[in-house]
Protein backbone atom coordinates (compact mmCIF):
# COMPACT_ATOMS: atom_id res chain seq x y z
CA UNK A 1 0.00 0.00 0.00
CA UNK A 2 1.19 3.37 -0.75
CA UNK A 3 0.14 4.82 2.52
CA UNK A 4 1.91 2.19 4.44
CA UNK A 5 5.09 2.81 2.67
CA UNK A 6 4.69 6.43 3.39
CA UNK A 7 4.16 5.83 7.07
CA UNK A 8 7.06 3.45 7.38
CA UNK A 9 9.45 5.67 5.66
CA UNK A 10 8.46 8.71 7.66
CA UNK A 11 8.85 7.05 11.02
CA UNK A 12 11.12 8.08 13.76
CA UNK A 13 10.99 7.39 17.42
CA UNK A 14 9.34 10.51 18.70
CA UNK A 15 6.66 10.27 16.14
CA UNK A 16 6.10 6.71 17.02
CA UNK A 17 5.71 7.59 20.62
CA UNK A 18 3.36 10.40 19.82
CA UNK A 19 1.24 8.13 17.79
CA UNK A 20 1.27 5.50 20.45
CA UNK A 21 0.21 8.04 22.99
CA UNK A 22 -2.68 9.08 20.92
CA UNK A 23 -3.80 5.57 20.41
CA UNK A 24 -3.53 4.97 24.08
CA UNK A 25 -5.58 8.06 24.86
CA UNK A 26 -8.26 6.85 22.56
CA UNK A 27 -8.37 3.56 24.32
CA UNK A 28 -8.62 5.15 27.72
CA UNK A 29 -11.45 7.32 26.56
CA UNK A 30 -13.27 4.32 25.29
CA UNK A 31 -12.86 2.63 28.63
CA UNK A 32 -14.15 5.66 30.45
CA UNK A 33 -17.15 5.79 28.22
CA UNK A 34 -17.85 2.14 28.79
CA UNK A 35 -17.55 2.64 32.49
CA UNK A 36 -19.97 5.54 32.39
CA UNK A 37 -22.53 3.44 30.63
CA UNK A 38 -22.23 0.78 33.31
CA UNK A 39 -22.64 3.25 36.13
CA UNK A 40 -25.54 4.95 34.53
CA UNK A 41 -27.31 1.68 34.02
CA UNK A 42 -26.65 0.73 37.62
CA UNK A 43 -28.06 3.97 38.84
CA UNK A 44 -31.14 3.70 36.76
CA UNK A 45 -31.75 0.09 37.67
CA UNK A 46 -31.21 0.88 41.26
CA UNK A 47 -28.37 -1.39 42.15
CA UNK A 48 -25.60 1.12 42.18
CA UNK A 49 -25.60 1.72 45.91
CA UNK A 50 -26.34 -1.84 46.91
CA UNK A 51 -22.92 -2.77 48.13
CA UNK A 52 -22.75 0.11 50.55
CA UNK A 53 -23.71 -0.41 54.13
CA UNK A 54 -24.95 2.24 56.48
CA UNK A 55 -22.52 3.44 59.11
CA UNK A 56 -24.46 1.91 61.98
CA UNK A 57 -24.07 -1.64 60.84
CA UNK A 58 -20.53 -0.84 59.84
CA UNK A 59 -19.79 -0.15 63.48
CA UNK A 60 -21.20 -3.50 64.52
CA UNK A 61 -18.70 -5.37 62.48
CA UNK A 62 -15.66 -3.34 63.18
CA UNK A 63 -12.51 -5.21 63.97
CA UNK A 64 -11.97 -5.43 67.70
CA UNK A 65 -8.45 -4.92 68.92
CA UNK A 66 -8.71 -5.19 72.67
CA UNK A 67 -6.63 -7.54 74.74
CA UNK A 68 -8.43 -10.65 75.88
CA UNK A 69 -10.87 -10.58 73.01
CA UNK A 70 -10.69 -11.96 69.53
CA UNK A 71 -11.33 -9.73 66.55
CA UNK A 72 -15.02 -10.38 66.76
CA UNK A 73 -15.08 -9.19 70.31
CA UNK A 74 -15.75 -12.61 71.82
CA UNK A 75 -14.15 -13.77 75.03
CA UNK A 76 -12.02 -16.88 74.97
CA UNK A 77 -13.18 -19.71 77.29
CA UNK A 78 -16.52 -18.14 77.63
CA UNK A 79 -18.33 -21.44 77.38
CA UNK A 80 -16.27 -23.39 79.82
CA UNK A 81 -17.81 -22.00 82.91
CA UNK A 82 -21.30 -21.80 81.59
CA UNK A 83 -23.80 -24.25 82.92
CA UNK A 84 -26.64 -25.79 81.02
CA UNK A 85 -29.77 -27.27 82.44
CA UNK A 86 -30.35 -30.84 81.42
CA UNK A 87 -33.85 -31.23 79.99
CA UNK A 88 -34.07 -34.77 81.26
CA UNK A 89 -33.03 -34.61 84.85
CA UNK A 90 -33.18 -30.84 85.29
CA UNK A 91 -29.73 -30.57 86.72
CA UNK A 92 -27.32 -27.87 85.81
CA UNK A 93 -24.27 -29.38 84.17
CA UNK A 94 -21.04 -27.74 83.06
CA UNK A 95 -21.04 -27.05 79.35
CA UNK A 96 -18.03 -29.17 78.55
CA UNK A 97 -19.52 -32.16 80.35
CA UNK A 98 -22.96 -31.65 78.99
CA UNK A 99 -22.81 -33.91 75.96
CA UNK A 100 -21.57 -37.03 77.78
CA UNK A 101 -24.02 -36.42 80.57
CA UNK A 102 -26.85 -36.20 78.12
CA UNK A 103 -25.77 -39.39 76.47
CA UNK A 104 -25.99 -41.25 79.75
CA UNK A 105 -29.03 -39.44 80.94
CA UNK A 106 -31.08 -40.24 77.87
CA UNK A 107 -29.62 -43.70 77.51
CA UNK A 108 -28.90 -43.28 73.85
CA UNK A 109 -25.16 -43.56 73.53
CA UNK A 110 -23.12 -46.69 72.96
CA UNK A 111 -21.58 -46.75 76.40
CA UNK A 112 -24.75 -46.13 78.24
CA UNK A 113 -26.45 -49.17 76.76
CA UNK A 114 -23.52 -51.35 77.73
CA UNK A 115 -23.55 -50.11 81.25
CA UNK A 116 -27.25 -50.63 81.46
CA UNK A 117 -26.93 -54.18 80.20
CA UNK A 118 -24.28 -54.93 82.70
CA UNK A 119 -26.37 -53.57 85.48
CA UNK A 120 -29.24 -55.76 84.48
CA UNK A 121 -27.01 -58.75 84.38
CA UNK A 122 -25.65 -57.82 87.77
CA UNK A 123 -28.99 -57.55 89.33
CA UNK A 124 -29.88 -60.94 87.88
CA UNK A 125 -26.75 -62.39 89.37
CA UNK A 126 -27.43 -60.99 92.75
CA UNK A 127 -30.90 -62.40 92.73
CA UNK A 128 -29.86 -65.87 91.74
CA UNK A 129 -26.46 -66.36 93.26
CA UNK A 130 -25.56 -68.50 96.28
CA UNK A 131 -22.82 -67.04 98.31
CA UNK A 132 -19.67 -68.96 97.79
CA UNK A 133 -16.59 -67.33 99.11
CA UNK A 134 -13.31 -68.07 97.41
CA UNK A 135 -9.90 -67.40 98.76
CA UNK A 136 -8.98 -63.89 99.38
CA UNK A 137 -6.33 -63.85 96.72
CA UNK A 138 -8.95 -64.60 94.15
CA UNK A 139 -10.91 -61.57 95.06
CA UNK A 140 -7.86 -59.46 94.73
CA UNK A 141 -6.80 -61.02 91.49
CA UNK A 142 -7.75 -59.55 88.20
CA UNK A 143 -10.04 -62.38 87.33
CA UNK A 144 -13.43 -62.99 88.82
CA UNK A 145 -14.12 -65.97 90.97
CA UNK A 146 -17.59 -67.17 91.47
CA UNK A 147 -18.38 -65.80 94.87
CA UNK A 148 -16.64 -62.52 94.52
CA UNK A 149 -18.28 -61.38 91.37
CA UNK A 150 -19.84 -58.44 93.03
CA UNK A 151 -16.54 -57.07 94.14
CA UNK A 152 -14.89 -57.87 90.88
CA UNK A 153 -17.49 -55.88 89.08
CA UNK A 154 -17.03 -52.74 91.00
CA UNK A 155 -13.30 -52.90 90.82
CA UNK A 156 -13.22 -53.45 87.13
CA UNK A 157 -16.19 -51.77 85.63
CA UNK A 158 -14.96 -51.84 82.07
CA UNK A 159 -13.38 -55.16 81.78
CA UNK A 160 -16.06 -56.80 79.74
CA UNK A 161 -18.07 -54.18 78.05
CA UNK A 162 -18.89 -56.13 74.91
CA UNK A 163 -22.36 -57.47 74.94
CA UNK A 164 -21.98 -59.53 71.74
CA UNK A 165 -19.41 -61.63 73.54
CA UNK A 166 -21.77 -62.34 76.31
CA UNK A 167 -24.46 -63.68 74.08
CA UNK A 168 -21.90 -65.84 72.32
CA UNK A 169 -20.76 -67.48 75.47
CA UNK A 170 -24.26 -68.37 76.40
CA UNK A 171 -24.37 -70.94 73.64
CA UNK A 172 -22.93 -74.15 74.95
CA UNK A 173 -20.53 -75.15 72.32
CA UNK A 174 -19.61 -78.41 73.87
CA UNK A 175 -23.15 -79.37 74.44
CA UNK A 176 -22.71 -79.52 78.17
CA UNK A 177 -25.77 -79.11 80.19
CA UNK A 178 -24.58 -80.79 83.28
CA UNK A 179 -24.70 -78.02 85.77
CA UNK A 180 -28.17 -77.53 87.00
CA UNK A 181 -27.70 -74.73 89.44
CA UNK A 182 -29.09 -71.45 88.33
CA UNK A 183 -25.87 -69.74 88.92
CA UNK A 184 -24.45 -71.18 85.75
CA UNK A 185 -25.21 -68.22 83.62
CA UNK A 186 -23.47 -65.80 85.87
CA UNK A 187 -19.87 -66.33 85.01
CA UNK A 188 -20.63 -66.60 81.36
CA UNK A 189 -21.86 -63.10 81.24
CA UNK A 190 -18.54 -61.80 82.32
CA UNK A 191 -16.15 -63.98 80.48
CA UNK A 192 -15.02 -62.26 77.41
CA UNK A 193 -11.39 -63.19 77.42
CA UNK A 194 -9.89 -65.78 75.14
CA UNK A 195 -11.30 -68.64 77.13
CA UNK A 196 -14.52 -68.56 75.20
CA UNK A 197 -13.64 -71.74 73.47
CA UNK A 198 -14.39 -73.44 76.75
CA UNK A 199 -17.92 -72.34 76.95
CA UNK A 200 -18.70 -74.70 79.72
CA UNK A 201 -21.53 -73.77 81.93
CA UNK A 202 -19.37 -74.18 84.95
CA UNK A 203 -18.21 -71.75 87.46
CA UNK A 204 -15.95 -69.70 85.39
CA UNK A 205 -12.93 -67.70 86.14
CA UNK A 206 -11.84 -65.12 83.74
CA UNK A 207 -8.42 -66.32 82.98
CA UNK A 208 -7.29 -69.06 85.31
CA UNK A 209 -9.59 -72.01 85.53
CA UNK A 210 -12.38 -73.86 87.09
CA UNK A 211 -13.00 -74.65 90.68
CA UNK A 212 -13.48 -78.32 90.77
CA UNK A 213 -14.84 -78.64 94.25
CA UNK A 214 -18.42 -78.29 93.31
CA UNK A 215 -18.42 -80.36 90.19
CA UNK A 216 -19.86 -83.79 89.98
CA UNK A 217 -18.02 -86.78 88.53
CA UNK A 218 -19.83 -86.70 85.23
CA UNK A 219 -19.03 -83.07 84.80
CA UNK A 220 -15.47 -83.64 85.71
CA UNK A 221 -15.11 -86.40 83.23
CA UNK A 222 -16.49 -84.40 80.41
CA UNK A 223 -14.41 -81.45 81.44
CA UNK A 224 -11.28 -83.49 81.50
CA UNK A 225 -11.84 -84.80 78.04
CA UNK A 226 -11.58 -81.37 76.59
CA UNK A 227 -9.42 -79.33 78.90
CA UNK A 228 -6.06 -79.58 80.49
CA UNK A 229 -7.56 -79.70 83.95
CA UNK A 230 -4.35 -79.45 85.90
CA UNK A 231 -4.95 -77.94 89.26
CA UNK A 232 -2.95 -74.85 89.93
CA UNK A 233 -1.53 -74.66 93.38
CA UNK A 234 -2.15 -70.99 94.00
CA UNK A 235 -5.73 -70.85 93.07
CA UNK A 236 -6.78 -74.46 93.49
CA UNK A 237 -8.49 -74.33 90.14
CA UNK A 238 -8.37 -76.49 87.09
CA UNK A 239 -6.61 -75.18 84.06
CA UNK A 240 -9.12 -74.47 81.34
CA UNK A 241 -6.68 -74.40 78.49
CA UNK A 242 -6.50 -77.01 75.81
CA UNK A 243 -5.22 -80.51 76.28
CA UNK A 244 -1.91 -79.45 74.90
CA UNK A 245 -1.49 -76.40 77.02
CA UNK A 246 2.19 -75.64 77.41
CA UNK A 247 1.96 -74.65 81.03
CA UNK A 248 1.37 -78.16 82.24
CA UNK A 249 2.88 -81.46 81.40
CA UNK A 250 1.04 -84.50 80.23
CA UNK A 251 1.95 -86.23 83.37
CA UNK A 252 0.22 -83.58 85.38
CA UNK A 253 -2.85 -84.01 83.31
CA UNK A 254 -2.70 -87.71 83.79
CA UNK A 255 -2.28 -87.23 87.49
CA UNK A 256 -5.30 -85.01 87.71
CA UNK A 257 -7.41 -87.43 85.82
CA UNK A 258 -6.38 -90.29 87.98
CA UNK A 259 -7.03 -88.24 91.03
CA UNK A 260 -10.54 -87.44 89.97
CA UNK A 261 -11.63 -90.38 87.99
CA UNK A 262 -9.72 -93.29 89.45
CA UNK A 263 -6.61 -95.13 88.38
CA UNK A 264 -8.06 -96.32 85.13
CA UNK A 265 -8.36 -92.84 83.80
CA UNK A 266 -7.16 -92.29 80.31
CA UNK A 267 -5.98 -89.15 78.64
CA UNK A 268 -8.45 -88.21 75.96
CA UNK A 269 -6.01 -87.67 73.15
CA UNK A 270 -4.74 -91.17 73.38
CA UNK A 271 -7.85 -92.74 71.99
CA UNK A 272 -7.28 -91.50 68.49
CA UNK A 273 -4.29 -93.62 67.60
CA UNK A 274 -4.58 -97.37 67.72
CA UNK A 275 -0.93 -98.06 67.23
CA UNK A 276 -0.13 -96.76 70.59
CA UNK A 277 -1.92 -99.53 72.31
CA UNK A 278 0.16 -102.22 70.75
CA UNK A 279 3.30 -100.39 71.49
CA UNK A 280 2.23 -99.97 74.99
CA UNK A 281 1.69 -103.63 75.60
CA UNK A 282 5.11 -104.63 74.52
CA UNK A 283 7.15 -101.94 76.06
CA UNK A 284 5.27 -101.03 79.15
CA UNK A 285 7.22 -103.33 81.37
CA UNK A 286 10.48 -102.21 79.94
CA UNK A 287 9.51 -98.65 80.48
CA UNK A 288 8.16 -99.02 83.95
CA UNK A 289 11.46 -98.88 85.65
CA UNK A 290 12.59 -95.94 83.59
CA UNK A 291 9.37 -94.08 84.01
CA UNK A 292 9.33 -94.60 87.70
CA UNK A 293 12.61 -92.88 87.84
CA UNK A 294 11.33 -90.29 85.42
CA UNK A 295 8.30 -89.63 87.49
CA UNK A 296 10.30 -88.60 90.45
CA UNK A 297 12.33 -86.16 88.51
CA UNK A 298 9.54 -84.66 86.61
CA UNK A 299 10.64 -81.15 87.13
CA UNK A 300 11.48 -79.41 83.93
CA UNK A 301 12.85 -75.92 83.92
CA UNK A 302 10.07 -74.48 81.85
CA UNK A 303 7.36 -75.64 84.19
CA UNK A 304 6.40 -73.35 86.95
CA UNK A 305 6.07 -73.96 90.61
CA UNK A 306 6.47 -76.82 92.96
CA UNK A 307 2.98 -78.03 92.39
CA UNK A 308 4.10 -80.42 89.75
CA UNK A 309 6.52 -82.28 91.93
CA UNK A 310 4.07 -82.71 94.71
CA UNK A 311 1.43 -84.01 92.40
CA UNK A 312 3.61 -86.28 90.41
CA UNK A 313 5.73 -87.93 92.96
CA UNK A 314 3.12 -90.42 93.88
CA UNK A 315 2.05 -91.13 90.34
CA UNK A 316 5.20 -92.49 88.89
CA UNK A 317 3.90 -95.93 88.13
CA UNK A 318 0.48 -94.89 87.22
CA UNK A 319 1.65 -92.58 84.54
CA UNK A 320 3.91 -94.99 82.76
CA UNK A 321 1.70 -96.44 80.16
CA UNK A 322 -0.13 -93.34 79.20
CA UNK A 323 3.01 -91.36 79.01
CA UNK A 324 4.53 -93.67 76.52
CA UNK A 325 1.41 -93.42 74.49
CA UNK A 326 1.53 -89.71 74.60
CA UNK A 327 5.05 -89.42 73.44
CA UNK A 328 4.44 -91.96 70.77
CA UNK A 329 1.69 -89.82 69.46
CA UNK A 330 3.84 -86.77 69.39
CA UNK A 331 6.67 -88.36 67.52
CA UNK A 332 4.93 -91.07 65.70
CA UNK A 333 7.42 -91.18 62.91
CA UNK A 334 10.24 -92.26 65.21
CA UNK A 335 11.28 -95.77 65.96
CA UNK A 336 10.25 -97.37 69.20
CA UNK A 337 13.59 -96.85 70.74
CA UNK A 338 13.50 -93.28 69.74
CA UNK A 339 10.21 -92.77 71.45
CA UNK A 340 11.43 -94.22 74.65
CA UNK A 341 14.18 -91.75 74.90
CA UNK A 342 11.91 -89.14 73.50
CA UNK A 343 10.16 -89.18 76.82
CA UNK A 344 13.03 -87.33 78.30
CA UNK A 345 12.88 -84.59 75.76
CA UNK A 346 9.17 -84.43 76.22
CA UNK A 347 9.63 -83.44 79.77
CA UNK A 348 11.63 -80.47 78.74
CA UNK A 349 8.63 -79.16 76.89
CA UNK A 350 10.50 -78.78 73.65
CA UNK A 351 9.50 -81.61 71.42
CA UNK A 352 12.57 -82.47 69.41
CA UNK A 353 11.50 -85.05 66.90
CA UNK A 354 14.91 -86.46 66.03
CA UNK A 355 15.78 -87.39 69.60
CA UNK A 356 18.95 -89.47 69.73
CA UNK A 357 18.21 -92.96 70.87
CA UNK A 358 20.67 -93.05 73.68
CA UNK A 359 20.17 -93.06 77.39
CA UNK A 360 22.30 -89.97 77.69
CA UNK A 361 19.18 -87.86 77.76
CA UNK A 362 18.41 -89.15 81.19
CA UNK A 363 21.72 -87.80 82.27
CA UNK A 364 20.62 -84.42 81.04
CA UNK A 365 17.52 -84.55 83.08
CA UNK A 366 19.53 -85.45 86.13
Amino acid sequence: MKMEEMSLSGLDNSKLEAIAQEIYADLVEDSCLGFCFEVHRAVKCGYFFLDDTDPDSMKDFEIVDQPGLDIFGQVFNQWKSKECVCPNCSRSIAASRFAPHLEKCLGMGRNSSRIANRRIANSNNMNKSESDQEDNDDINDNDWSYGSEKKGLWYLPFQNPNSPRRSKSLKHKNGFSVCTSASNTLPLLFSSSGELSNSDPFKYNNSTGISYETLGPEELRSLLTTQCGVISEHTKKMCTRSLRCPQHTDEQRRAVRIYFLGPSAVLPEVESSLDNDSFDMTDSQALISRLQWDGSSDLSPSDSGSSKTSENQGWGLGTNSSESRKTKKKKSHLSLVGTASGLGSNKKKKPKPPAPPTPSIYDDIN
Partner: protein, 88 residues
Protein backbone atom coordinates in the same frame (compact mmCIF):
# COMPACT_ATOMS: atom_id res chain seq x y z
CA UNK B 1 4.26 22.61 4.40
CA UNK B 2 3.27 22.23 7.98
CA UNK B 3 -0.24 21.47 7.03
CA UNK B 4 0.82 18.84 4.68
CA UNK B 5 3.02 17.35 7.31
CA UNK B 6 0.15 17.33 9.73
CA UNK B 7 -1.98 15.82 7.11
CA UNK B 8 0.59 13.18 6.68
CA UNK B 9 0.60 12.47 10.36
CA UNK B 10 -3.12 12.33 10.40
CA UNK B 11 -3.04 10.02 7.51
CA UNK B 12 -0.47 7.93 9.18
CA UNK B 13 -2.48 7.77 12.34
CA UNK B 14 -5.58 6.90 10.45
CA UNK B 15 -3.72 4.22 8.62
CA UNK B 16 -2.31 2.74 11.74
CA UNK B 17 -5.65 2.80 13.43
CA UNK B 18 -7.22 1.10 10.57
CA UNK B 19 -4.59 -1.54 10.61
CA UNK B 20 -5.07 -2.10 14.27
CA UNK B 21 -8.75 -2.56 13.89
CA UNK B 22 -8.37 -4.85 10.97
CA UNK B 23 -6.06 -7.21 12.70
CA UNK B 24 -8.13 -7.13 15.90
CA UNK B 25 -5.19 -5.79 17.75
CA UNK B 26 -7.12 -2.83 18.97
CA UNK B 27 -9.66 -4.99 20.73
CA UNK B 28 -6.92 -6.92 22.39
CA UNK B 29 -5.27 -3.75 23.52
CA UNK B 30 -8.53 -2.47 24.88
CA UNK B 31 -9.10 -5.58 26.98
CA UNK B 32 -5.57 -5.40 28.22
CA UNK B 33 -6.03 -1.83 29.23
CA UNK B 34 -9.28 -2.54 31.00
CA UNK B 35 -7.71 -5.34 33.02
CA UNK B 36 -4.83 -3.14 33.96
CA UNK B 37 -7.07 -0.32 35.05
CA UNK B 38 -9.06 -2.54 37.33
CA UNK B 39 -5.90 -3.99 38.78
CA UNK B 40 -4.39 -0.67 39.70
CA UNK B 41 -7.63 0.51 41.24
CA UNK B 42 -8.39 3.12 38.68
CA UNK B 43 -11.87 1.86 38.30
CA UNK B 44 -12.59 2.00 42.02
CA UNK B 45 -11.38 5.53 42.24
CA UNK B 46 -13.51 6.46 39.33
CA UNK B 47 -16.47 4.74 40.93
CA UNK B 48 -16.06 6.72 44.10
CA UNK B 49 -15.99 9.85 42.06
CA UNK B 50 -19.12 8.76 40.28
CA UNK B 51 -20.87 8.26 43.58
CA UNK B 52 -20.03 11.74 44.63
CA UNK B 53 -21.27 13.15 41.40
CA UNK B 54 -24.48 11.21 41.64
CA UNK B 55 -25.06 12.23 45.21
CA UNK B 56 -24.56 15.79 44.16
CA UNK B 57 -26.86 15.61 41.25
CA UNK B 58 -29.45 13.43 42.90
CA UNK B 59 -30.09 9.85 42.03
CA UNK B 60 -32.98 10.35 39.77
CA UNK B 61 -31.68 12.94 37.44
CA UNK B 62 -28.37 11.58 36.39
CA UNK B 63 -27.91 11.26 32.68
CA UNK B 64 -25.29 9.61 30.63
CA UNK B 65 -24.05 12.83 29.23
CA UNK B 66 -23.55 14.31 32.64
CA UNK B 67 -21.64 11.35 33.78
CA UNK B 68 -19.51 11.27 30.74
CA UNK B 69 -18.72 14.90 30.92
CA UNK B 70 -17.73 14.65 34.54
CA UNK B 71 -15.94 11.43 34.57
CA UNK B 72 -14.01 11.23 31.40
CA UNK B 73 -11.60 14.02 32.16
CA UNK B 74 -11.20 12.74 35.67
CA UNK B 75 -10.47 9.33 34.35
CA UNK B 76 -7.99 10.61 31.91
CA UNK B 77 -6.12 12.61 34.45
CA UNK B 78 -6.05 9.69 36.84
CA UNK B 79 -4.71 7.54 34.16
CA UNK B 80 -1.96 9.71 32.85
CA UNK B 81 0.61 8.80 35.50
CA UNK B 82 0.46 5.24 34.30
CA UNK B 83 2.99 5.04 31.55
CA UNK B 84 1.57 3.33 28.55
CA UNK B 85 5.00 2.18 27.41
CA UNK B 86 3.94 -1.40 27.53
CA UNK B 87 1.47 -0.75 24.80
CA UNK B 88 4.18 0.24 22.47
Amino acid sequence: MVVSKMNKDAQMRAAINQKLIETGERERLKELLRAKLIECGWKDQLKAHCKEVIKEKGLEHVTVDDLVAEITPKGRELQNPIVPSSHL
